[in-house]
Symmetry: C2
Subunit: 191 residues, 2 copies
């Protein structure tokens, strides 16, 4: 039986993100999620069909929580459509992602786990592809300079910059990361 209390389900999924980041994919058990959410042992197993179900809901929830809020979207909409704005938007995006440290680390754990779980890999592939396409579509509707290739290249570049920042933060200083963001937009966003 799969339970239907959406608030409870949400807090279990959020707890699973924290467990993934802290313990790794192999540490993610229903019991660990129950403990993290401070609910009675056995609760999570009533809400998720199996472990793959929990893993894929955790991934979807990270993407959901990374969406910008209304105020941010509105402010971005009214900025001039030039390369300087592009740089500001990218800084904000990178800031938003790296501020949700456990969410991003959980996604990395899920990627590695997906090399062992074909069902998870299929779901993550669709999510990442949809995310890339949404970024391209957002860009095309925005009137910002550059093309779809620039969007894809910046996704690659900034994902690894975030990996550096979150896993080995002393490889680049904050000032160096800042300069790399600016240089990436300057060089990749042509035309």
């Amino acid at each position: 039986m799969v339970r239907r209390n959406d608030a409870r389900r949400g807090s279990l999924v959020d707890a699973s993100i924290e467990v993934l980041a802290r313990e790794g994919a192999r540490g993610l058990t229903f019991r660990a999620v129950d403990a993290e959410a401070a609910v009675p042992t056995g609760t999570a197993s009533n809400y998720f069909a199996n472990r793959d179900d929990l893993l894929t809901q955790a991934a979807a929830r990270v993407y959901e929580r990374l969406q910008p809020d209304e105020a941010t979207v509105e402010r971005q909409r009214s900025a001039p459509r030039d390369r300087e704005t592009y740089t500001v938007l990218m800084r904000e995006l990178i800031g938003r992602i790296s501020a949700f440290r456990t969410g991003y680390l959980a996604l990395l754990e899920l990627r590695l786990e997906s090399t062992r779980r074909p069902a998870l890999r299929a779901v993550l592939t669709e999510q990442v592809r949809a995310d890339v396409e949404a970024n391209v579509a957002y860009h095309e509707a925005s009137g910002l300079p550059g093309d779809a290739t620039a969007v894809r290249l910046l996704i690659l570049t900034f994902n690894w910059l975030i990996v550096e920042q979150l896993t080995l933060p002393d490889v680049f200083s904050e000032a160096e990361r800042d300069r790399l963001v600016e240089a990436a937009v300057d060089r990749i966003v042509t035309g």
Copy 2:
């Protein structure tokens, strides 16, 4: 007592890379390494002071195994110093790294594990920093076009391209990845 048979030590370190990639960092135990290397239980614990020692030797060994062989270095040395050669070199580098699939996945596992182990993080930080600096120095001695910023940006871009390829290989097709490599060099390597 730490044993001194270097060939045996090397095969244990190589076995630890396979265990890391297959089982994740939490699956890496001395016992699992013994089993992977097909040696008697208790062997690995004679060769490594502790688990951190094994983890850091595994990371160093991945970098070592990713070095190009003499023939490759020689061939690269005699190629013309233009942007086309740059693209070819980057394709070869990406091909060499992604061909050592378990090595790259092991490095990702170690990065995530380093968020939980400060001693490992310090060692990995030095290794990654040294690797970035070696790439910049190699470039500066090579006479290839572009600057140190381009080297750093390409490292970021191609690392995530390899993450995509190895963890979610259907997000981009091989042809799309190929075009992204070419576009990255075209746009990032200026001057």
